[in-house]
Symmetry: C2
Subunit: 209 residues, 2 copies
DNA sequence: TATTGTGAAGTGGTTCACAGCT
DNA sequence: AGCTGTGAACCACTTCACAATA
């Protein structure tokens, strides 16, 4: 398959979320206009996005809701469950462990780790926090797909190395540091400081963007 | 000032963070190459980014660390403190309240609100959680610059409306919904579900991106 | 008439390459 | 020699416009 732009993937994900909401309401079809509104795009862009992968709609009618949702899940690779390990059982880890968006969509938190002995053994959303030193052997027995890093900046790179060593191929990083990982490992950063700076910039000259 | 691309702002913010680290080490100058590495860019792009706002470097030498940092703070509008109000005192709110990235850089959390009566009165990082109904009158007395939304998706739009009504011009939203706000209000979304979908896509065919 | 599918045109951000200083 | 500053070339994503179809 040809290269897909990150911005396109982002929109496809938004379309899918919207389609799932439509499906719950029993809606049969949606127009590119409705999808555009949901995805922060234009109708033309929605059609371009979708036509890149196939012809899913019917002219004069729109796109069939359950059908298109299934196609998008397939395209995004959501047709299976993902084993997620969370490293960091502090306040952020607690918030993440309880986040419904994980379980809802096939992302299953398999285990939570922390280096802090005082946190090990505690319960987080039904999971017992395990010592970080077990990560390697645990994942050897049962590999994970995604690692979530919710530890302080200083220890984030070490955690990333451990995750990569344990065979994790995708990382979601909440620590405000740029992680260095080998070729072939996907990393997504969520960096609060960056978002705040962007808002500061928008507020720059009195009125917002 | 002319239009600046969001991707540029993001990089400027990364350059600034790196410069601050360099300053702590007493480094005098940095090259576009070093900045590029820190910002996930190429040296040429660093120079383009910076030259858009002026000539801050010296040919053959590089960029003076403290000087460039000051310029970037000015460009990003970080030359002042920002009053931030946090709505939502749940687990996410707790994690956000303790996040050092706020206080470090002139973003001061002025107050925390929640609609849940059982949370009102509790302490979060030295702040007492206030009832959400007070938000309007509180901000009338002391306006805030930025509102952070850390409530469930269902109540996020209501909170956004309240914030906008109270004069907030910039919003950082952690709820997985697209907020509708009037022209002139800046919104930044942090959407976990989107990041997870992007990672799923990267894992799609066996190996990562 | 309503709406998709898509080649073509347009726009804007990135990379190149080299002139200009130190 | 080393490194910045920048116009020009390049590339990629977006928008347009209209043919195709229900």
């Amino acid at each position: 398959m040809k290269h897909v732009a990150p911005s396109t993937i982002r929109r496809l994900s938004l379309y899918l979320h919207f389609l799932e909401a439509c499906a719950l309401e029993g809606q049969e079809t949606v127009s590119s206009r409705a999808l555009a509104e949901a995805g922060g795009a234009t109708p033309a862009q929605v059609r371009k996005d979708l036509s890149f992968f196939g012809s899913f709609g019917r002219r004069g009618v729109g796109y069939p809701v359950p059908d298109l949702a299934a196609h998008l899940r397939e395209i995004l690779g959501l047709g299976r469950t993902f084993r997620v390990v969370l490293v960091g059982a502090g306040r952020l880890g607690a918030a993440l462990a309880h986040f419904e968006g994980f379980g809802d969509r096939g992302f299953r938190i398999a285990a939570v780790y922390d280096t802090d002995a005082s946190k090990v053994g505690a319960r987080l959303d039904g999971l017992v926090v395990r010592g970080a030193e077990r990560l390697g052997t645990d994942l050897e027995a049962a590999p994970a797909d995604i690692g979530v890093i919710g530890v302080p900046a200083a220890s984030a790179q070490g955690v990333a190395d451990a995750l990569v060593g344990a065979g994790v191929k995708a990382i979601l990083n909440f620590a405000p540091v740029r992680l260095v990982v080998p070729e072939g490992i996907s990393v997504k950063h969520v960096n609060l400081a960056l978002e705040l700076d962007a808002l500061a910039f928008a507020l720059r000259d009195g009125s917002g963007r």
